[in-house]
Symmetry: C2
Subunit: 111 residues, 2 copies
Amino acid sequence: MHTESCSDGNSIRHLISNVSEDELSDLAELFKMFADSTRIKILYDLINGEKNVTEICDDLEMNQSAVSHQLKLLKTAKLIGARREGKQMIYFLADDHVKTIIAMGKEHIEE
Amino acid sequence: MHTESCSDGNSIRHLISNVSEDELSDLAELFKMFADSTRIKILYDLINGEKNVTEICDDLEMNQSAVSHQLKLLKTAKLIGARREGKQMIYFLADDHVKTIIAMGKEHIEE
DNA sequence: TATTCATGTGAACAGAGATTCATATGTTAA
DNA sequence: TTAACATATGAATCTCTGTTCACATGAATA
């Protein structure tokens, strides 16, 4: 016998043990968020604590529109959260996974 | 006073504590390797042990050229290694960081 | 050495994504 | 309600990158 092994019928040739193709796509999507300089800088910036958009722009020395566009992506990916405070929007890291993932990356680089 | 704080003169406005802009770019470059479905599948495939190109192609159900191109990128990034064995090239994960990083990603997704 | 199998690679094409520009939305203060 | 500030967003542009196609390279075998 040599038939389907994935119970969900979603398989890249029964190989990738127990992991559906969708799950791997989601993984790729997640890592995409870390795969851009601007977004990494934003995430890294927020490790120092929550900040509003203007502060982030100043820190990164980038124009507000570019930053806002990336903030939106990060928020959609649920890597950051936001709340309004008067005229300003305060952004912050959603959870500790972000720090952990970045830390793992740094570790690999400094091998 | 409020001048340069990074000793190397490489700063995104002294913010990103102790981390040079280059270092953050390297991080982004690293995560780019995980940010594509094909590459993630290859990496995940190799978690099951070393494989030659044909096996990987079969597993992913992708044509050989596409896979080879991605293998080259992964090798350049030092996430995988390779050795020749007769006509075949055997690819394998370079170290455990790959597994760790993927595991972190999965953990975040399954939150 | 000619052939076949396994893999690598350059060029071309297509699609995705990042930045900019202009402008819209939302909030506070005058 | 008007003005000023803070942020969001759509469209256009430009760049980057993944796949395909055709072919090159390398190794084993007849």
